[in-house]
Symmetry: C2
Subunit: 409 residues, 2 copies
């Protein structure tokens, strides 16, 4: 067999639900040389990353760090570190990623209760409150922004409910963090886990996470230091966390001044996470979110201007993604194929009950930009017309321009 040649990806504009085009600054940061695991530069960079992500999460929690996996792994790290077999968990399921929380909690051996909501709607506070009273769970696990439905879940009142029942509050902010308001500490969230590949504009493979002192206390009470590096007096738990890799009590030690060896930190992904947070905070978190709101509104107006129906509860729409109902008689996959092959633009499909019924168009991170929005709308119009779908000429681009003009006025 001959060897494949040098890497040469085709030019793409990634306007789906993520990954999106990484910010070129993040990609450049990833070609920086490595240093050793305990090099003063490395441990200093780890400390910087902690401080940067405290600001992204709006959290003063000491245990704010990176999990060396994709966003999904960080969800598991949070859940498996907290949950012992038999623990009760409550999950409002409003879309695919609620199902994922259920699935992961079940694999932790937890007793999982759900509030099932129609995809595209939020979970009403009253339903969650009723279920909390019944279940009185150890953990309430909530997806903040579920890209499968484009809806963002309000967290009002959840902290008070959790306080009432001694429940920990977990939030999956993979798809929302950075681009949608999320105040970890003010909202009383004990654990939040994210990902780089959405609004933060990096590649997937590293997952920022933040843990409240209360969560850390529960996790550390389960600590068990592995035999190969255990010192006299070190903890050996009776029922240790079921995972070694995702045992956050050991990961906390690794990120602490103690620097107890666990895995070998994924240095290049840490470089990426550091640069991604710097980009957010240079712009300013509020300005960064306002930019997501603006370009998300322009994209929404644009698809409506093309005469397309929008999916889901628009009052609770994520800033960074819109669901578009695939019109009757239009082959959704053919449209996505032409967009990609002929225009180099990726838009997304959806999952489960929405598969084949909804496209998902993202405006996030580096791609929350006017040129990306207008180009996507122009291409979508062109493709739909060639697919035989009648639509107002220029209606998408015009409506987006209108949003931009109003914002500038």
């Amino acid at each position: 067999m001959t060897l494949p040649g040098p890497l040469n990806p085709p030019p793409r504009l990634l306007m789906g639900p993520g990954p999106i085009d990484a910010d070129p600054r993040v990609l450049r940061a990833m070609s920086a040389p490595l240093v050793g695991q305990y090099d003063p530069f490395m441990t200093h960079a780890m400390n910087e990353v902690q401080e940067l992500y405290r600001r992204v999460f709006v959290s003063s929690y000491q245990e704010t760090l990176l999990v060396d996996s994709t966003a999904r792994g960080a969800i598991e790290a949070a859940l498996v570190s907290v949950l012992e077999p038999g623990d009760r968990v409550l999950v409002p399921v409003m879309g695919r990623f609620g199902h994922l929380l259920v699935e992961i909690a079940q694999r932790c051996g937890a007793e999982v209760h759900t509030v099932q909501i129609e995809w595209g709607q939020i979970a009403p506070y009253e339903l969650i409150a009723d279920a909390m009273a019944k279940v009185q769970p150890k953990l309430l696990a909530v997806v903040h922004g579920d890209t499968s439905t484009t809806v963002v879940q309000p967290f009002d009142g959840l902290a008070e409910l959790c306080a009432r029942y001694g429940t920990l509050l977990y939030a999956d902010v993979t798809a929302s963090i950075g681009g949608n308001e999320f105040l970890t500490e003010e909202w009383g969230v004990d654990i939040a886990t994210g990902g780089l590949q959405k609004c933060l504009g990096g590649p997937s493979g590293s997952a920022p996470a933040t843990f409240s002192p209360r969560a850390v206390g529960i996790i550390n009470s389960r600590k068990s230091i592995e035999a190969g590096i255990r010192a006299e007096g070190d903890a050996v738990a009776a029922h240790p966390i079921r995972s070694n890799y995702f045992d956050m009590s050991m990961v906390f030690d690794y990120w602490s001044e103690r620097r107890l060896n666990h895995h070998t930190e994924a240095t290049t992904m840490l470089y990426a996470a550091r640069e991604a947070a710097r980009i957010v905070l240079e712009e300013g978190l509020e300005a960064f979110q306002a930019r997501h709101l603006l370009h998300g509104r322009a994209m929404l107006a644009g698809v409506q201007g093309l005469g397309l129906e929008v999916f889901g509860d628009l009052e609770h729409k994520m800033t960074n993604i819109v669901g578009v109902v695939i019109p009757d008689g239009v082959d959704g996959e053919a449209v996505r194929g032409r967009m990609l092959q002929d225009f180099g633009i990726e838009i997304g499909t959806s999952f489960g009950p929405l598969q084949g019924k909804v496209w998902r168009i993202g405006t996030m991170g580096f791609n929350a930009r006017q040129d990306a929005v207008l180009t996507t709308l122009a291409a979508l119009e062109a493709v739909l017309r060639r697919e035989g779908f009648g639509l107002p000429a220029g209606g998408g681009v015009d409506e987006a321009y209108r949003v931009y003009a109003e914002a500038a006025a």
Copy 2:
């Protein structure tokens, strides 16, 4: 708080047990733009990576792929996907990473039996055979090259033992793959997992792994597809794998033609893994290993030429690392500190019973080079002399030169 500045790592020559300096080609590959998760370019690149790593593992196994974690995560992925609670596992423990296998298997709920060997020695075949007869385990888990002791474990006869007792054979090749001979399929190894940050010359954060059809059969018998994407007729196991992220049956589907969504592949780490394998295979796997052998021999001769004692069984020394006994009266950490701060060169310490007693000097991947070897020896001599340790002037460099001259003759 002001923001930290752009990333600006100090120049380092990383001659420890890993991570080592990533090959600049790998770093450059990591700044390539992203593509979507199901872009034809991406799925083609995934297929290329599978074929490249089949050649690195010397394995025809279909299920050869990347685990999106550091090397430690891939060990856990292998063990948790195979082991059900109560399953018997046998682990020969010759160093720190044997302890790690024990620890991970225990967290899977397995009944773990060990053969305990003095650090620095191999596990003799007879001891393993006796234990296999007694335990008759589901899995024999063996570290191939343990950087904590610098020793490489022979696999002769292990496949036959495993066949006798219906045991799966797992090998942790994190530190050995590429730089030491390892013939996955010929040696009857069912599962091998590696890492990029040692001989393969990449950053940590992605872990190549290969699974035999027999291992795949056992893992797939435990398959349970998650609710959010489950189709009619899809598998729901009674005792699913305890992890979702490391459930290899789902990861196999993701890497198969079915492309069933699991995590979002860490694209940039995949780019790195692809380039790392291309570099190995361009040189040729045998030439790549011969290069590791040569520079490892030069480094060994060099430290001996400095009058230093070498740790461990030299007959079974890994090509890519040497253990150096810290001489009486020398402050090991002071020497490492001067090497790093004054010369920009990192050498390693060790763990457990060897902590403070042994330095570890690596010659691997991009750093298995004459200039790296000679520079390290010259710096080590200079530092030891300033620390007041008497040693033959130029003795290290001279001996290394002698090895190179003999090899060239």
